[in-house]
């Protein structure tokens, strides 16, 4: 919640400040990030900064909500272009592609998201606990597939989501280092196959 004065600024300047924040918060952890760097990058004075924002937490939250808006819009676009598959794994794959797309297009935003997951400063921990996590939709999908007899009924949907989220994060992190889009997608598919079918050899029934 920036102060009124910030919103009175013309759009270009707001944007400049936003982008300076993105740059700094994607480069360093919340604690390490420096307001000095942000104002230098944005080309505003120290005094002005405190006229716009309460403190570092304030501009961080502002930046997050801005990114959130853009992300929602982007996801909506993907969803319209490629309608969701009809089972859990199809939907999962679609989401994975969307996530990779996002990471590729907005590396800094993704970096910030990454940091948020890893960062363990008090503020970020508090913040993370509030995050809603749009997982409910997937839980519903799993439950439906369980009723349809596609997924074992004795696994807990929450656990599956948990496992998959963790692995997805890992893939994104790897993608950062390798920057190999196709390879990463390939690997994600293999991982999902493991989750789907397991690694144990079939018990000499089909063989």
């Amino acid at each position: 919640m920036p102060k009124e004065t910030f919103y009175n600024l013309d759009g270009a300047k707001q944007r400049r400040i936003f982008q300076a924040a993105v740059q700094e918060f994607s480069r360093r952890s919340f604690n390490e990030a420096s307001i000095n760097q942000i104002i230098k990058q944005a080309g505003i004075s120290r005094g002005s900064f405190y006229q716009y924002f309460q403190d570092k937490e304030d501009i961080y939250l502002y930046m997050l909500t801005e990114i959130g808006k853009e992300k929602t819009a982007a996801i909506e676009q993907v969803r319209q272009q490629r309608p969701a598959g009809d089972d859990f794994f199809a939907a999962l794959l679609q989401m994975t592609e969307a996530a990779l797309d996002w990471a590729r297009a907005m590396p800094q935003y993704n970096q910030i998201g990454m940091r948020m997951i890893l960062d363990d400063s008090e503020f970020i921990i508090k913040l993370r606990q509030l995050s809603p996590a749009a997982v409910n939709q997937f839980i519903t999908l799993i439950e439906r597939d369980q009723k349809r007899g596609l997924i074992k009924s004795d696994v807990k949907p929450e656990l599956v989501i948990d496992v998959i989220m963790v692995l997805m994060q890992h893939c994104l992190k790897e993608y950062y280092q390798s920057a190999d889009y196709a390879g990463m997608l390939q690997q994600a598919k293999k991982i999902f196959a493991i989750i789907k079918h397991g690694i144990a050899a079939p018990k000499s029934t089909g063989e």
Copy 2:
């Protein structure tokens, strides 16, 4: 590689300094950690610190090797008490229990390990790349089980290890917050079951 002067110190003082480092590096990231805190905690003067160590990296490396020694000893002990199971999943479970034991007994050490995985300061990244990771043993186990027909032959052992390592880290992280030993072990088992058998319902063969 601390300086000679450090090793000339009597054991108690060395230990005090080591523990001060553990405390600080488990509390804050490498970049955020402060030498001031360490010397205050250890009860030595600023000047002395620089007589013992080159800089922050130096004491960090020293601390890591010390922890490494202790860990190796602890693992050896576990291995002797509980001999490894004869297939991959048995060995995996044993390792999980060992890891949880370790985390419970040495929360700070584990915290440091955790930080090392997450930390993205230049120094830590460089350091992490050097780490050998004692995964080879597990890869061998998987390959053996593949030959024995227990594990599908078309999965890449490296990928499986990767997936499991990531999930294990996640479990440890969760364990930190919940501090529920039994519950965590239970969850780990369920996760391994997913890896083993998958979540897809059997194709109307057994039902």
